[in-house]
């Protein structure tokens, strides 16, 4: 062996070790997640389906606790202390966030590697959906609207950028999504009628690459759906839930929030584009390719910010590139994601606010059910039939799964001014009941459902796996595994607090883990060895 051969052999030996020490291998992004969970939805489809099957129907009963990590100190208390983030897992390290806090922990043991704390200047501390990752860099958003980039190795801050003005009542909860050399970041906040937007920023410097406004400016297309420039520049349409991405079309599919003022529509007559919509934007330019408005002229706080899931499916025997969403307003939508053309619009709960759908498949709101000074009784409540917690699509069953709420609320108009401000109304929730539903994407029909006992609405996110398992939480603190084919319960564990995020799974050293949030903690489950 000569020197060169020796060096080559040594390099070959060292190479895997070196690679293992590196940050995110960008080729993993967009691949079905196995030894990692490198982006919010696992991959870019939004379907939250894992090809892992070490844990499966035959052995799920042997699943046991591997570790617990409590995210102390509780970040801000209240709603913000619940883990709502989907963790990322890269090279055996798990990254997650809560309002003002970000952590790296050992994905095998739950041991904390670092904890980054942000000193806040305000903003609503309602939750944080998680972090984004590019090579060695972590990105997360704070309630006071800073995009912070950290070094994944040690949690040291690289840079910070203000992405929205907290004094105008913006606040930020989204998980940044990294696609190619773009960090896609959304914003939130609907207290005081600010306009929404979505930005793409450079992963190294944070420099703005493009910005898409979710309401038009004077003279732009879409302006005809607003009465005047002032209304659309105060028109809302926040971008607070990560969308999905089709590399073949190079389009991102992003859901937008409710219009503003939230519950008083008299100052914004028209359909109010592009609020409460699903939009398709070019990844590299941010230019709008198509839109579908889920709630034209919404007055019930029904953000369309539920994950639009990409399904490569079949309609009438033809293969189609589809996009499916269980909307907060109670409709299940299926679109052609190349064109935005509507294929299915079917209610998945009992709702009473719509007079059917228009020729484009968009629901027609019943004006009688808009908020009134003496109240209107509406199904669903403002919290919706579904909300941001991520649903799942399982290609093995062909079913779309969502924890749905049958809910009722009285909607009051409180601001009758011609130019109302803020919410301009409020709603009083009466009752909500939660049901896990399995929906046939071809028709919107519910194939099976499981009603959770008790008076508790909504529910957390969902994970499906090739092990023929569906993981989610119930409203009573249980983490539950269902059979995705028929809804039979196969396993559960009582966590002592409700699951507040969506579970993930990954395999390390030949051992599969399933990780879920429960209250302020993360719980990892695995098979007994």
């Amino acid at each position: 062996m000569n020197l060169r051969q020796l060096l080559t052999s040594v390099s070959a030996l060292l190479l895997p070790a070196l690679l293992a020490g590196q940050g995110l291998d960008l080729s993993k992004l967009g691949q079905p997640p196995t030894d990692s969970w490198p982006t919010y939805h696992g991959d870019y489809t939004g379907r939250r389906y894992s090809p892992l099957k070490q844990i499966n129907q035959s052995n799920v009963k042997q699943m046991t606790l591997a570790w617990v990590y409590r995210s102390t100190p509780p970040p801000g208390g209240g709603a913000g202390s619940v883990v709502k983030a989907t963790p990322l897992v890269v090279n055996g390290v798990l990254y997650f966030a809560s309002p003002d806090h970000c952590w790296a922990i050992d994905a095998r043991t739950g041991r904390e590697l670092w904890h980054y704390s942000w000193e806040t200047s305000g903003g609503i501390h309602i939750g944080n959906r998680g972090v984004g990752m590019y090579k060695d860099w972590i990105y997360f958003e704070t309630p006071d609207n800073w995009l912070v980039s950290l070094d994944a190795k040690n949690g040291k801050e690289r840079w910070r950028l203000e992405i929205a003005d907290v004094k105008q009542e913006y606040f930020s909860t989204p998980a940044p999504i990294v696609i190619k050399n773009h960090v896609i970041i959304g914003v939130g906040g609907d207290s005081l009628d600010v306009p929404g937007y979505l930005e793409s920023r450079d992963p190294e410097t944070g420099k703005l690459q493009w910005r898409w406004n979710s309401t038009p400016r004077k003279g732009e297309p879409g302006a005809e759906t607003w009465p005047n420039p002032e209304a659309m520049e105060h028109g809302g349409g926040m971008t607070w839930v990560p969308g999905s991405y089709d590399p073949d079309l190079n389009l991102i599919f992003w859901p937008t929030g409710n219009p503003n003022p939230v519950m008083s529509g008299q100052g914004r007559r028209g359909s109010n584009l592009w609020t409460a919509s699903i939009v398709a934007l070019d990844l590299d330019t941010g230019k709008l390719k198509w839109y579908f408005q889920c709630s034209p002229h919404d007055t019930h706080d029904w953000d369309a910010t539920e994950t639009p899931i990409m399904i490569d499916g079949e309609i009438n025997g033809q293969p189609r590139k589809l996009l499916a969403q269980s909307n907060r307003n109670g409709y299940f939508f299926v679109l052609d994601r190349t064109t935005g053309q509507n294929i299915v619009s079917t209610p998945f709960i009992n709702l009473n606010w719509s007079k059917g759908v228009d020729p484009k498949g968009q629901p027609i709101p019943d004006l009688a059910k808009e908020p009134k000074t003496d109240g209107t009784l509406v199904m669903p409540a403002s919290g919706g039939a579904a909300n941001w917690p991520p649903p799942s699509y399982d290609p093995d069953t062909g079913l779309f799964y969502v924890n749905s709420a049958q809910s009722y609320s009285i909607f009051f108009l409180t601001d009758t001014d011609d130019k109302p401000q803020g919410y301009g109304g409020r709603d009083q929730s009466l009752l909500s009941r939660s049901t896990l539903k399995a929906i046939d994407y071809k028709t919107g029909q519910v194939k099976w459902m499981h009603e959770y006992p008790g008076r508790a609405g909504g529910g957390p996110g969902i994970l499906t796996t090739a092990g023929k398992l569906l993981f989610t939480g119930d409203p009573h603190g249980n983490f539950v595994a269902f059979d995705p084919a028929d809804g039979k319960i196969l396993w559960h564990a009582q966590l002592g607090a409700n699951v507040g995020n969506a579970p993930i799974t990954y395999e390390l050293d030949g051992q599969q883990y399933v990780v879920t949030g429960g209250g302020d903690s993360l719980y990892a489950f695995t098979l007994l060895k």
Binding site: S191, L192, G375, V480, H492
Partner: protein, 292 residues
């Protein structure tokens, strides 16, 4: 009694929330006007979930409001939401970024020739008071949990009575001379409406004499055991728990052979929720309000 505990917990939360609202209104952020009850001097200024910036003192807000109405209201509107010739200042970026007059002060004093705003001669203290008033207006718009409701009693009492005795089926469980006697004086309309639609945790603030709804009753029969009845404490897909007549807590795994009979005393209210028209709801409220 998990439900009762939850209800009690919610009552506590709501009570605290109401206290916060009263405090906030005392500090002048009620939407109606800056004339609410005043917080005690030196009382800690607790923040609510929606308000993350300092709440101005009610005295400064009151002074600012007087100044604003006389000096600025003609163009900007008495509520600062804008008028014929002056822009909205509640949602103005400058006014929102301003803390204590440092941004709006120069505009007030210099005026704006192109916007036809004349200069105003104001002291630093007056500018600060104006800033306090604008902050109060902004926080009133932000603080949706405290928006006052308007008149809810818009129905027809006669039709409401007919619904009560007829289609609603209310008389199956209730009597206007019994359990509902004087209900129109016990609750405000805003409290009464959600309570009759679905009895549950206190809404729009607790009321004196509030009673939790009747508990859910349950009978559990194990496959080879005796039936046990009591009030339901907890029910999920895996366990059922009750408190029996002697006050003992009993919990059971929901195995295949276990029989469960749950009797929800307010199931009829739930069944009506998807049947009411808004007119039924308003008529029924208007009728119940007459039960003095």
């Amino acid at each position: 009694m998990k439900d009762l505990k939850r209800i009690f917990g919610l009552c506590v939360v709501l009570f605290v929330a109401v206290l916060f609202h009263l405090l906030a209104q005392g500090q002048g952020s009620g939407q109606g006007a800056a004339g609410g009850k005043k917080a005690k001097a030196g009382a800690p200024q607790k923040k609510n979930f929606l308000i993350s910036r300092p709440v101005p003192s009610p005295e400064a807000v009151e002074r600012g409001q007087k100044l604003f109405v006389t000096q600025c209201g003609f163009c900007h509107g008495a509520r600062a939401t804008g008028g014929e010739s002056g822009p909205d200042l509640v949602r103005s970026v400058v006014a929102l970024r301003d803390e204590q007059g440092e941004l709006i002060g120069p505009i007030i004093r210099k005026g704006s020739a192109d916007k036809k705003m004349p200069p105003f001669n104001m002291t630093d203290a007056q500018v600060k008071d104006i800033a306090s008033f604008l902050r109060e207006r902004q926080q009133a718009a932000i603080n949706r949990g405290a928006y006052p409701l308007q008149n809810l009693v818009t129905g027809d009492a006669k039709r409401g009575e007919a619904y009560f005795t007829g289609a609603g089926g209310c008389v199956k469980c209730h009597s206007v001379s019994g359990d509902l006697k004087g209900i129109g004086t016990r609750y405000t309309p805003a409290n009464l409406l959600p309570r009759f639609l679905y009895p549950g945790p206190a809404r729009f603030g607790p009321q004196p004499g509030d009673k939790p709804p009747a508990p859910t009753m349950v009978t559990v029969t194990p496959s080879n055991g005796q039936a046990v009845s009591g009030t339901l404490e907890q029910l999920d897909d895996f366990t059922v728990a009750l408190r029996d007549g002697a006050g003992y807590y009993r919990s059971f795994a929901r195995t295949d052979g276990l029989k469960l009979d749950v009797r929800d005393p307010i199931a009829a209210h739930e069944a009506l929720l998807s049947k009411y028209t808004d007119a039924d709801m308003h008529d029924l409220l208007t009728y119940l309000v007459t039960l003095k």
